[in-house]
């Protein structure tokens, strides 16, 4: 899946001066199957990037093309299809249901596209050290634990592109590496790419190239 940002400038960022290499207000192509790092300091629009790409905000100028199709022309069904099986997202605020258990949170997402494979989900949880949290309500988990559940939830759906908004912000290096390993494996399995936003060190991250904001 190829994504093209063509002169995109969200209104809240229109007052800020952007560098020549910034994604905003210039033409940037996110190549299909590539693992891309989106590195920027706070307030440069990392979350805005995710939200504009996923159709959650429309207050921008310019065009976003997904496989040459302008997102402004997508109808509800096409957006649903895109969110369901083409682009998986780990939102910065995680978007988990605190009143539901880890199992229920994963099941709810998985059942939108395919029958829920609980063994696969349990294996992933175990890999990230959360095996005992299966029946725990998400609201009772720490932020780091919730972050790992949100990553697993994104990984269990089919996707061509995985978009992650600061997914390791609450994780120590060891857990971040484990998560990265899981992400890389899943992307290899699906021959998919990812876009990962981050605001700090990138030593432990493996990626193909970097885009600035």
């Amino acid at each position: 899946m190829q994504i093209e940002f063509n002169k995109v400038l969200p209104k809240p960022l229109s007052e800020i001066e952007h560098s020549a290499e910034s994604l905003w207000n210039s033409k940037v192509i996110f190549e299909s199957g590539k693992r891309i790092l989106l590195n920027a300091s706070s307030g440069k629009g990392k979350t805005t990037f995710v939200h504009t790409l996923m159709g959650l905000r429309a207050d921008f100028t310019g065009d976003i093309l997904v496989d040459t199709k302008n997102t402004k022309s997508l109808n509800t069904d096409e957006w649903v299809e895109m969110r369901r099986s083409k682009i998986a997202v780990v939102y910065q605020d995680l978007q988990l249901f605190p009143q539901l258990t880890v199992e229920e949170n994963l099941k709810l997402k998985a059942e939108l596209t395919a029958p829920f494979n609980s063994n696969d989900a349990i294996d992933k949880l175990a890999f990230l050290g959360l095996r005992d949290k299966w029946n725990q309500k998400c609201g009772f988990l720490s932020m780091g634990q919730q972050q790992r559940v949100a990553i697993i939830r994104a990984l269990i759906q089919p996707f061509q592109l995985l978009v992650m908004d600061e997914p390791f912000s609450h994780l120590d290096n060891n857990n971040a590496e484990l998560c990265m390993q899981l992400i890389q494996n899943r992307c290899d399995e699906l021959k998919a790419g990812f876009i990962l936003t981050t605001l700090d060190a990138k030593d432990n991250l493996t990626f193909d190239y970097e885009v600035k904001l």
Partner: protein, 393 residues
């Protein structure tokens, strides 16, 4: 799981209040529609006069006896009355101006004959099928509507003659005839009773027959119009009654009592109906508002489900079905309460001597159906609008 997520953690108190309001509103709505319909229907089957129709005459006073005032109606008086806003129509009641005898003409019944008084009224005032109520020269039978008091008198005679008394149905099968005369020539015509009335004291015949007999046998001047038929507008009987009092008019007491009773009770139920409609609308709005509140409380959940790829139609359908189920429960319970209430109200009416058809009015069912349709549309629209608004947020 979605239902669990969206409805398990909701605040139930407001829902209970809305449900109680809706339940009461619907119970009273069904009840008032049912009884309003039944009251309008009351007495229609048993009488031959049309709806809201009275026969009026002027009150006989000492002055009229001394010839100081008239007891007949002039053309001008009739035309003036027609112009009143609460009056649908006015027509004179034509009385015979020749001699008439009524007699039995059946081998199974002993001869009975009596001088009678016949009258003709315009067909529009009668609630009889038109194919039964017509006559033209050369036809064998003249249809007639008999005062029920006359049948009582006939039965008294039958009893005295040692013959079994006759019912309404049997009387309509017996053969009778009228003898009309101007004192010199006379004619016999066969007649058939097609119905009975408690509202008119004379035998009613079709206008055509009256015209024919008047032309052939009338003596002297045309008969004076001493009675008129008045059809009042629906629900405006009170105004007609006031007019009658002001103009010294009177009607047969039972007619006035029934019409007044129907008018008062009808107005009462109409008021209850309006209150019920307001209550149903208010409780419907509270339910819809509650739906908006649930949606608002679940804004995060709905938005997250949409972000995860759930179709907005599926989410709005979940809300819509939930509230439809709740409303169907309210309607069913409301209908149950109505049946219970009807049992007691019917008992009260029967204790007061008012026997109404006990079947549940089709209008009551229609009101349930209409309420259901309106709520369905409103809740569908609300659910759809609220969910789709969150889709791109």
């Amino acid at each position: 799981m979605i239902k669990n997520l969206l409805f398990k953690y909701q605040e139930k108190r407001q829902l209970v209040i809305a449900l109680i309001g809706a339940l009461l509103g619907i119970t009273f709505l069904i009840s008032s529609v049912h009884y309003l319909h039944k009251i309008n229907e009351y007495g229609e089957d048993s009488e031959i006069l049309g709806k809201n129709t009275l026969i009026l005459q002027k009150k006989v006073t000492s002055a009229s006896t001394m010839g100081l005032t008239k007891t007949d109606f002039s053309e001008k008086e009739i035309s003036k009355m027609k112009l009143e806003p609460f009056v649908e129509d006015v027509k004179p009641v034509i009385s015979n101006n020749f001699r008439v005898w009524f007699e039995t003409n059946d081998p199974y019944v002993p001869t009975f004959k009596s001088d009678v008084f016949i009258q003709a009224v315009s067909k529009e005032f009668l609630d009889v099928k038109s194919e039964k109520w017509h006559w033209k020269e050369g036809e064998r039978f003249v249809p007639m509507i008999m005062p029920r008091d006359f049948l009582v008198m006939l039965n008294t005679f039958m009893n005295a003659s040692g013959i079994p008394q006759v019912s309404d149905d049997l009387a309509m099968k017996l053969k009778f005839r009228l003898r009309i005369s101007d004192g010199q020539k006379e004619e016999w015509v066969d007649t058939k009773i097609i119905g009975f009335t408690n509202e008119i004291a004379s035998i009613l015949v079709p206008e055509n027959f009256m015209e024919y007999a008047t032309k052939k046998f009338a003596q002297g001047d045309p008969g004076k119009i001493t009675q008129i038929m008045v059809a009042g507008k629906e629900g405006e009987f009170g105004k007609l009654e006031t007019y009658m009092n002001v103009h010294g008019l009177e009607s047969k007491n039972s007619q006035v009592v029934v019409s007044r009773l129907k008018s008062i009770v009808g107005t009462l139920f109409a008021v209850i109906l309006v209150i019920s409609i307001v209550a149903v609308i208010a409780s419907g709005l509270v339910l819809i508002q509650y739906m908006q509140l649930v949606l608002s409380h679940n804004k995060y959940e709905v938005r997250t489900l949409l972000r995860l790829g759930m179709h907005p139609k599926l989410i709005s359908k979940t809300f819509f079905r939930y509230f439809l189920f709740v409303f169907l429960l309210v309607l069913t319970a409301g209908f149950g309460f109505f049946v219970l209430l009807k049992y007691f109200v019917d008992e009260i009416f029967q204790t007061g001597g008012i026997y109404m058809n006990e079947q549940i009015s089709i209008m009551a069912f229609s009101s349930i159906f209409l309420t259901f349709i309106i709520f369905t549309l409103a809740s569908y629209r609300t659910a759809k609008n609220e969910v789709f608004t969150l889709f791109n947020k």
